[in-house]
Structures are given as structure tokens and as C-alpha cells.
Amino acid sequence: MIFADNLEKTYSVAPVNPFRRGARIPALAGATLRVGEGEAVALVGRNGAGKTTLLKILSTLVLPDGGRASVCGRDVAASPRAARAALGLVTGDERSLYWRLTGEQNLSLFGALYNIPPRELRPRVARALADFGLENHAAVPVRSYSSGLRQRLMLARALLHEPRVLLMDEPNRAADPILQGEFIARVRDEIAGRMNRSVLLATHNLEEAVSLGGDVAVIEKGRIVFFGRPAGVAELRELMAGFTSGNPNRRS
């Protein structure tokens, strides 16, 4: 479902002083990852470890310098449109919604952009609003929503076209701990469990990563340095500390 093989990416950063050479910042240095059907994998790493770059490459928003990646067998660099049709993207950025439009209008707009046939669009939007408990807020502009409602709307938007793959980049950034727990349970039990979607969720919240219930991929300096199921948050924290200090006590 999700496949990344030896992905490499280095960003050129323009210097503040125009007469100096820009810096080259490596973001991915041979990242390799596989997420199968119905699996929910948490991607954890410190800030700047390469989580967002990996997700952006998988969602075709950034082109890799080297390596290959595919979503549902569709190469993200060679067939980006086909890859995008097979995936839903959730970011933690509430601004990715149109705040002056209502929840229903947002879903209808993105449904059309995801090529949902016009006669199916209305019932699907109504179902999505009901599934995510947004019926009573359907006609309210998104600017009046709470962070929790916006988060639910972003998830509803990502699932509207029934993608087989869901990519999430710190979706709980603005949520309180209770909402975070509910959100993770929903992703684990409903989206990966009942709906059999493949989920890759990037986070730096270790509790969230373990609660997702599947494998955890640890990314450090642009490489996946661990892939497996830690027994708990304490073990995962210990693992990550080891990789950060350059003295890992366990590798997959």
C-alpha cells in the first residue's frame, strides 16, 4: 500500500545574505518503509528528523532527489495524479480548510476536486458529516468551529473519496489530550480496523504512537532506524534516546 525505498532529499536554503552560498540541509538519507493493507504505522522522530518530508513526498507535494516511493502501486513521482487519487492527507494545519465556507461547502468542494461524481457527492457529504458528528455544524462557517470540530472535518475531508491510504502529519497538533485519545482510537479501530485503510501517522507524541496499536517507525536524521512494536511508551522513549545519543541498544 505505502512503499518508500531508499528515499533521499536535500533542501537548499537561500541565505539571508544574497552574496553568500545557501546551505544544503539533508532531510532524508535513504528512508525505507512499508505499510501494508489495514496497517496503522506511527512515524515518530524529533523535530527535523524527516517525518514531514517523507509524508510530503508520499503525498506528491515534494519531489525526492533519489529513491522510489509508491502509494497503492502508483509511483508518486511518475504518476502523481494517480497516487493522489488513492490517498487522503490530514495535516495538523487547520488553515488548510476554507474558513469562510461552511463545513458542508468545504466537503463538497474537496469532494469535487477528488472527482466524486456529482450525483454521489451530496449523499457522500451528508454521510461524512453524520459519521464525524458534524451534522449540526454543517451550515456553520468553519471560522466558528472549535479546533476539535476542524480536526474532525479535516479527517472527514481526507476520507470523503474513500482512499485506501491515509497519510497524517501531526493531526493532533491543536487538540487537547482527551480529543487526542478519541482521535487515535478512531483511527485505530475504525479507519485502520473496520475500514481496512493503510495509515501512516507522523507524530512526536510517543504516547500517541504507541496507542495507535500498530508498528512504530522511528526516523532519525532522514533514515528509518527502527521498525517494530515497542512494549510501551517507556521502551520507545528509551529507544529514541539511544538513537539520538548515537548509542542504540536495539535496531530492527
Binding site: V62, R84, L89, Y98
Partner: protein
């Protein structure tokens, strides 16, 4: 659906409707009184019947319409970047060209209403007269002009995507359409050097065609030379614009700066 989104977005800013209507009235009245000051027989305007108000009203209405084509793509890119919605849009299977074209469609309707506003005010309430107009030529002039400006608009949007700011095209063409293109005065007044410069910008041909058709009632045979030049400009600008826009998009995806502004 994108058209509907832009419409809904626009009407959510109710006060701006009144500001826009007020702006049209203010502009039209300003040039009406300037025309009144000159009187009816303005030298240099013999070609257009000598009436400055009828002359400048075409320039005002049509240039604002054309500038929309120039600005739409770059403004759309900038708006989506600033709002934070660009990545969400680009993560859908719809091509970027499709949603920017949809934005263009709404802007045409929106600016078309401005044009109608200018002409209603000028013809019904003031003294503009287009009794000899060759209305059948107007759609072709509009289509060719919009195509030429869309080509430039795509290049302009490419600058925003690739370099974020400092879009030289909008500055240059804004100046060119207002000054060189002859919005406020006829290009024929210019010295030789400026006349040659004016011949390089599409708005010169668009406005001359529109005035010849609307004020002088010129037929297709008389309009043909300017039509040919404008069509040639379209043939060059539209593919160049599309190529440059795609290059800029790939560049931004390569350096990861799609959402930077």
C-alpha cells in the same frame, strides 16, 4: 464547484460589494468631469469621434477586465499560499491548471459585472455614446485578449510559485497597460520610440480593437490587421505561460517551497 466556492467566498464579504460599486462610480465620474473640462472636440481623438469620455470609458472598463486575467493566477496562488489551503488543493487529483482556470472563470464574471457597471453608468446616466458599435466583433476581441493576458498571467503565477515575491511581470504590465496601452489617451499621441514600445504589449491591440469596434463601428476587414497581431501574440504567450507555470511548480516541489511565501 470551484466557481461556486469563489462566489460564496466573495459574497461572504458583503461590504466589499458596496465598496466596488462605489469605486466604479467614483472612477467614472472623475473621468466624466475631466472629459467635460475638455469639451467635445478633443484634438488627437478625431479617429474616435473626438469624445474623450466615450474613449476613456472603453479603456477603463476593458483594461480592468484584462488586468483580471493578468492577476488572477498569481493572486490565486498567493491567496491559497497565505490561507494555507494550497497544499490541500495540490494533494487532490485535480490538476492545478483546472482550479486556477475555475478561479479565472469567477473573476471574469465578477469583472464582467464591473464592465457592465461602467457602461450602464456611462451610457444611461452620463454622456457616453456607442451608437455605431459593431457588437459582433466584441466577443472575438474579448476572447483573444483574454487568451493573451492569460498567457502572461500564467507566467506571472509561475514567478510567485518559484520566487515568491518580486513578480516583475505584474509591475511591468500594469505600467504598460495603463501608460503604453493607451487606457487614458490614444497611443497615436506618443513619440516614435514610445509608439514602438506600445506595439509590443497586447493591451494596445486589445484596446484599439475595442475602440474601433465600439466607437467607430469598424467591420472585421478593418479590424483584421490588429486581430492577426493579437492572435500571433496568443499563439506565443499561451504555450509559454503553460510551460513556465509547470516549470515553476516542479521547481517548488523539488525545493520543497510550495507553501512558502
Amino acid at each position: 464547484m470551484l466557481f461556486r466556492k469563489d462566489f460564496l467566498d466573495q459574497i461572504s464579504y458583503r461590504f466589499s460589494f458596496f465598496l466596488e460599486a462605489g469605486g466604479i462610480a467614483f472612477y467614472t465620474l472623475t473621468f466624466y468631469f475631466i472629459a467635460e473640462m475638455f469639451g467635445g472636440g478633443v484634438p488627437n481623438l478625431e479617429r474616435y469621434g473626438g469624445d474623450y469620455f466615450s474613449f476613456v470609458l472603453v479603456g477603463l472598463a476593458f483594461s480592468s477586465f484584462l488586468n483580471i486575467s493578468l492577476d488572477t493566477f498569481s493572486t490565486a496562488v498567493r491567496d491559497e499560499q497565505m490561507q494555507g489551503t494550497l497544499e490541500a488543493l495540490l494533494a487532490t487529483p485535480t490538476s492545478p491548471a483546472a482550479f486556477f482556470l475555475a478561479r479565472l472563470l469567477w473573476n471574469f464574471v465578477h469583472s464582467g459585472l464591473h464592465v457592465i457597471g461602467y457602461f450602464i453608468l456611462g451610457i444611461v446616466f452620463l454622456s457616453a455614446s456607442y451608437s455605431r458599435a459593431n457588437a459582433s466583433a466584441v466577443p472575438l476581441i474579448v476572447i483573444l485578449s483574454l487568451l493573451a493576458f492569460n498567457g502572461l498571467g500564467m507566467i506571472s503565477a509561475g514567478f510567485i510559485i518559484a520566487f515568491k515575491r518580486g513578480n516583475p511581470l505584474n509591475i511591468l504590465l500594469g505600467f504598460a497597460s495603463a501608460f503604453l496601452g493607451g487606457v487614458y489617451f490614444p497611443v497615436e499621441m506618443f513619440p516614435e520610440v514610445l509608439r514602438k514600445a506600445a506595439a509590443l504589449v497586447p493591451v494596445t491591440y486589445s484596446l484599439r480593437l475595442m475602440r474601433d469596434a465600439c466607437i467607430n463601428g469598424a467591420g472585421f476587414r478593418e479590424l483584421a490587421p490588429d486581430f492577426i497581431v493579437l492572435a500571433a501574440m496568443c499563439a506565443v504567450l499561451v504555450p509559454c505561460g503553460a510551460l513556465f507555470f509547470n516549470w515553476a511548480l516542479r521547481r517548488a516541489k523539488r525545493d520543497g517551497s510550495l507553501t512558502h511565501y
